[in-house]
Symmetry: C2
Subunit: 590 residues, 2 copies
C-alpha cells in the first residue's frame, strides 16, 4: 500500500500514512489524539482541523457541520477527511484530547483529570483566648474537614517555621498545596487559581518539557532541548562509565541535566508568561540511567552484572532538594523503573498505550539508543531491553546522522536509480535512522544485498553525491544495522516465545520513540526489524514516554496505575536465556 | 517536724528530709529513684548505697544482706536506713531505676525499655541475573520480613543515593537505623551494637543533657551548661522580644542554643569515649519558647494575645536539618507542647510524675521563671501557667541571686537573731529563692511582716552584713515576692476550683524544677505558696522535665504516651477567668 507524508502543525510532526486513512488516525500515529465526542462517527462536528496544504473538496457531512467560510479556509473534520495526497494540517489545541476541553471536563476518554498536586483554599478560625488553637493544629483541623479520611499530615519543619506569619498575613485565609491529599506547602491568601505542572521526558539525547495549567488542564507551552550530558558520552553506557570513573563525574552529569531542565523551565515559563514559582509539580520519565543521573544517584551498578538499579519504585521529593527552579514547595515526581535497562520511560509507554489494561495482546516497541519491547495484555506483561546500539540514531554508521535538517530520511531505489528526501529540503549531509532503514530495505528489494547482509556489488553503495563528497553505505555499516535490527527482533521473538504466542495473536503494535515515529513500517518488515504484521495493526504513538509523564501530571488515578506497573511486568533478561545466541544469529539475517 | 539536709552523690544534689524518713524516699525527693526489686520491704538487699557522712549502726536486716567489710565501708540499704542527722550518700549507678539494671531488663517498674530509635542487622540476598532485585527494594523486603505489619517506608533520596555503595561495601550485610520501625538510615556492616541517645532539658537558664547507651540503657555521661541565650534576656518574654524585634534576632537565639547543645554533645561524647556520630537520637524537653527557638520557629505570637504556639504536636526531624552534631541520620525529637506557656517541659513533668495515669488526684508544681501547675488524675487533667516572674530565681530582688555558691539558701530567725547557711560555705553574696522563702516565712513567724506584706519595723530587714555591705530585704522586694507567690497560689486555687476539689482530695504534690527542689515545704506553707497539705504528701521530683525526656529516649511506649498528653490536658487560661483578679488579690496576702 502506498504511504503518503502528512505533516501536523504547529509541531511540524511528520508521519507516513496509508492512502485512504482518516486524518484523525494519521494524527494518532503522530501522537496527537483528536477529541471526537461522537466517537469518530462524523456527526458531532467537533473535530475541526485546518488543512493548510492538500485540501480536497468537502464531503456532504462536512458541509453540514462547517460554514462556507470555514470550508473556504480549509477547515475539515478529522474523522471524515481521508488522505489521498501529501498534506499539511493544523490541529488546533481545543480539539486535542489533552487540550483544554478534555482535561477540564473530568473523566472522559482515557484519563480522569484530577492532578495529584492541587491547591485548596482554607479559611481558618482566628485563635482567641478562649480557643487558642496552635497554628499547625488549626491548619490540620481545616485539612481534616476537607478530607476526613486522610490519615494525617507529617510535620515539615520548614512549613512550621512559616505558618504563623503566613496565617497572619491575610487574616487566616491561606492556600494549601496538597500532593495526593498531603500538605506540601502553604501560601498566604487565595492563590488557588495559580498552579502549573511540567511533564518532562528526560532522554539520553533530548529533553522534552510540556507546561500544563493544572487548574484547566491546558497545555500552555512546550519546549525541547539537547541533554547537554552528551558531551560526556552519547549513550547510556558511556554516561555510566563517566559517572563511575571520575570522582566528580556523577556530580557533573547531574549538574548538567539539572541545568538543562532549569533552562527549559525558564523558557516555558517565559513563553507562557508565568513565574517559575507557579510550577508546583514536575513529573519525569526517562530511562533508568537518566533517572539515576537526574536524581543524583550513582548509576555504577547499572553498568555491571546483574545490572540492578538503586531503586525501582517511584521517587517523589521536594524541588529544593534537587535544586530545580520551580516553587520551593513543589514536588518532583519520577515514574518508577522496571529494571536496569527498562526504565521509567517504558512505564510511560505502557501508561500511554494502555497495554497493561488491554484485553488483547499488544506490543510496544520503543526504539532509541536501545530498543525496549513490551508484550502482553492485562493478564500478563513481559518486557525486555535489547542492546540495539545507536545505529538507528545514525551513530556508528559511516555517514550516519541524527534526524536533523540535512539528513536523508527516505530512500527509493528504482531500477538502479536512487531517489531520496532530505529533512528541510536542503543538500544532504548524511543519512538518519529512517533513511538507513529505507535504504537497506530498497537494497534488499533490488538484490543489492543478500540475506546474510553481504553487499553483492562492490565495497559500498552510493546514495548521494554532493560535489566530491559521497554519502554511501559500506559493509561495516550494514553489519551495524544488522546487529541493531537483529537485537530488537530477537527481543520480539523471545518475548513472543515466552508468552507462547504467534504474530497473528498480536492485535496492535505501537511504535514509540523518535525513530519509531518516522519509519516506514513496510520497510521495517522487509528488513525483518518487526514481524510480518498487517500494516493496519501498526500504530505510531510518538513520544509515548512524554505522554505518560503528562498522564501522571494530570491524574492521581494514572499515577497510582503507574506505580502498580513495575510489579506487574515480568522483566525478561535476554542474555541468560540459553536460546538467545541461536535466536540472535537467526535474526541478524534479512 | 525537723528537716535535715541530705546530700546525694555524685550529683551533690541536696534536699531537706524529715527526721526518720528512709534514705530511698529522700533520694526520690532529689529526683533519684532507687531500684528496689522487693518493693522496699528490705528483703532483697539490692538497694545498697554508700553513706559517706552521717552513717549509723546497721540494722539486723542490713547485717543479713551486707558483708562486714561492706558495713565498715558505710554500705547500707536505702529502703531501711533512716535519716536522723545530716548525711552525705553516694547512690551507685547500678541501683538507680534509670541505671543499667532497670533499663536493660525490659518492663519493670515504670518504663518499658524499648527505645523508639534502634538498629537492626540486615543480611540481604545478593542480586543475580535471575533475581536482579533493585537495592532499595531488596532492603525494604528485609525490613518487611523484620516487621511484616509495617506499612512501608517512604523514599529518602539521600539514603537512595548511598544505598548501592553501602550494600556492596560489606557483601550486603548492613545495619538499618529505625525510628519506630521506619528506616532513617543505613550503615555498612554490623554496627548494631553502637547506638547512643541524648536526653536534653532545654531550660531558659540551664541546659542539661544525659547521654544514654541505647543498647544497654546505661546512662554514660551527664552534663549541664548555661543557655547562652541569656545574654539576650534572662526570661522567656525578653527572648521573645529579642527574636521578634531585630531581623536576625531569631537566628541569633537559635544559633546560640544549637551551639550550646553541640558543645554539650562534644563534652558528653568525650567523657564517655564515644564519637558524636554514635548518637542517633536526641529527645528534648523545654518550655514553648525554648521549643520554638531551638527549632528555629519565631516565638513572636507567644508574646501577644492569645499566646498561640506555632505547633503543639511533637516534632521529629533529621539532625542535619537543625545542624545538630550527631549522626547525620540521627533524629531530633521534641516533646509536644500543651499551650503557649505550658510547654514540652510540663509534658515531661506529667510523664515523670505519672499524673496522667494516677487514680487519685495529684498536683505538680514546676517553679522556674514561671510557675506551671498540673492538677488532676487519669480522668481529667488541668494545667495552667502563672506569671510568677523570676523572683524565685533571685531576679528583681535587691540582693537576689541564683542558687550558686555565695547564695544564702537557708534562714532562721530566733528571737531577733538571724542565722543562715550559704551555698559553698563561703561569704554570702546575696540571697537565692529558697533563702528568700525561708526569710519571708521567718519574718512572718517573728512578727516582722504583717499579713498584707507590710514591713513592720523600718524600711528594710538586714539578713547579713559582710564588711560594709548589707544583704537585706526591703518593702519593694517583699512586694515582688508577694506577686510571685500570689501568682502561683492563684493558679493552684483556680485549678482546684475548676476541678471542684479541696486540699484534702489531693493525694500527692510534686515539686519540680530547680527551685522546687530546694525549698522547705513547711515554709512554703507559711508564706502561702502552697496549700496546707500534710508534709508527707509533698514529694520533690527534681528535674522532672529532664526525666521525661529520658523516658521518651528509652521507650517507644512512653513516647506514644507523651504524644497523647496534650490532647488530654485542659489548658486553663487564668487571665480570662472573671474571678482571677479577686483571687489574685487574696493570694497576695500571707
Amino acid at each position: 500500500m502506498e504511504e503518503i507524508k502528512v505533516t501536523f502543525q504547529p509541531e511540524g510532526r511528520r508521519v507516513y500514512a496509508l492512502r485512504g486513512m482518516k486524518v484523525a488516525e494519521a494524527a494518532a500515529r503522530a501522537g496527537i489524539i483528536i477529541d471526537a465526542p461522537c466517537g469518530g462517527l462524523g456527526n458531532c462536528g467537533q473535530c475541526r482541523v485546518e488543512v493548510i496544504e492538500g485540501v480536497d473538496a468537502p464531503t456532504p457531512e462536512e458541509e453540514k457541520h462547517l460554514s462556507q467560510e470555514e470550508i473556504k479556509k480549509g477547515y475539515r473534520l478529522a474523522c471524515i477527511t481521508t488522505i489521498n495526497k501529501e498534506m499539511n494540517i493544523l490541529i488546533p489545541e481545543e480539539v486535542r484530547l489533552h487540550g483544554q476541553k478534555f482535561l477540564t471536563e473530568g473523566k472522559r476518554g482515557r484519563v480522569k483529570f484530577a492532578p495529584p498536586v492541587r491547591k485548596a483554599l482554607l479559611k481558618l478560625p482566628e485563635p482567641t483566648l478562649e480557643k487558642p488553637q496552635p497554628d499547625w493544629e488549626n491548619l490540620n483541623s481545616a485539612l481534616k474537614r476537607l478530607a476526613p479520611h486522610n490519615a494525617g499530615h507529617g510535620v515539615d519543619i520548614y512549613m512550621v517555621r512559616e505558618i504563623s506569619e503566613i496565617l497572619r498575613r491575610n487574616k487566616f485565609m491561606v492556600t494549601g498545596i496538597l500532593d495526593n491529599g498531603k500538605l506540601i506547602g502553604i501560601e498566604p491568601g487565595d492563590t488557588s487559581k495559580c498552579i502549573f505542572g511540567l511533564a518532562l521526558d528526560i532522554g539520553t539525547t533530548t529533553v522534552v518539557g510540556s507546561l500544563i495549567d493544572l487548574n484547566t488542564g491546558e497545555q500552555v507551552a512546550v519546549a525541547s532541548a539537547m541533554n547537554s550530558q552528551v558531551v560526556h558520552g552519547d549513550d547510556t553506557i558511556s554516561r555510566i562509565n563517566f559517572a563511575s570513573k571520575s570522582s566528580d563525574g556523577l556530580n557533573k552529569l547531574t549538574g548538567r541535566i539539572i541545568e538543562v531542565v532549569n533552562n527549559m523551565i525558564g523558557k516555558v515559563c517565559k513563553n507562557a508568561g508565568i513565574d517559575t514559582h507557579d510550577i508546583y509539580y514536575v513529573t519525569c520519565a526517562g530511562n533508568t540511567t537518566m533517572h539515576h543521573l537526574f536524581l543524583g544517584i550513582s548509576p555504577r551498578n547499572l553498568g555491571t552484572m546483574p545490572f540492578v538499579p538503586a531503586i525501582r519504585r517511584s521517587v517523589s521529593l521536594n524541588a529544593q532538594k534537587l535544586k530545580i527552579d520551580v516553587n520551593p514547595n513543589g514536588r518532583i515526581y519520577f515514574l518508577p523503573n522496571i529494571a536496569g535497562f527498562v526504565g521509567a520511560d517504558i512505564v510511560g509507554v505502557i501508561l500511554a498505550t494502555g497495554i497493561d489494561k488491554a484485553k488483547d495482546i499488544k506490543m510496544a516497541i520503543d526504539i532509541g539508543t536501545n530498543g525496549e519491547i513490551v508484550l502482553g495484555s492485562k493478564d500478563r506483561l513481559l518486557a525486555c531491553s535489547t542492546a540495539a546500539g545507536p545505529a538507528f540514531e545514525g551513530a556508528r554508521i559511516t555517514h550516519g546522522m541524527r534526524g536533523a535538517p540535512g539528513a536523508i530520511e527516505k530512500v527509493i531505489i528504482n531500477q538502479g536509480e536512487v531517489s531520496y528526501e532530505v529533512i528541510g529540503g536542503i543538500e544532504p549531509q548524511g543519512i538518519c535512522g529512517s533513511g538507513l532503514l529505507d535504504l537497506v530495505a530498497e537494497m534488499i528489494k533490488n538484490g543489492l544485498v543478500d540475506n546474510t547482509g553481504r553487499l553483492l556489488k562492490g565495497d559500498s553503495f552510493v546514495v548521494a553525491e554532493v560535489g566530491k563528497r559521497k554519502i554511501e553505505i559500506n559493509q561495516r555499516d550494514l553489519r551495524q544495522f544488522q546487529l541493531a535490527k537483529g537485537a530488537i527482533r530477537t527481543g520480539i521473538e523471545m518475548l513472543k516465545k515466552k508468552l507462547g504466542i504467534k504474530d497473528k495473536d498480536i492485535s496492535e503494535v505501537f511504535l514509540a520513540g523518535a525513530f519509531g515515529n518516522y519509519i516506514h513500517p513496510e520497510n521495517a518488515k522487509v528488513v525483518g526489524l518487526i514481524p510480518d504484521i498487517p500494516l493496519e495493526k501498526i500504530k505510531f504513538v510518538g513520544n509515548a514516554a512524554s505522554e505518560g509523564a503528562k498522564m501522571v501530571l494530570i491524574s492521581q488515578e494514572e499515577r497510582k496505575r503507574a506505580e502498580e506497573i513495575p510489579a506487574r511486568v515480568e522483566h525478561v533478561e535476554l542474555s541468560i536465556d540459553p536460546l538467545f545466541n541461536k535466536e540472535f544469529a537467526e535474526q541478524m539475517l534479512f
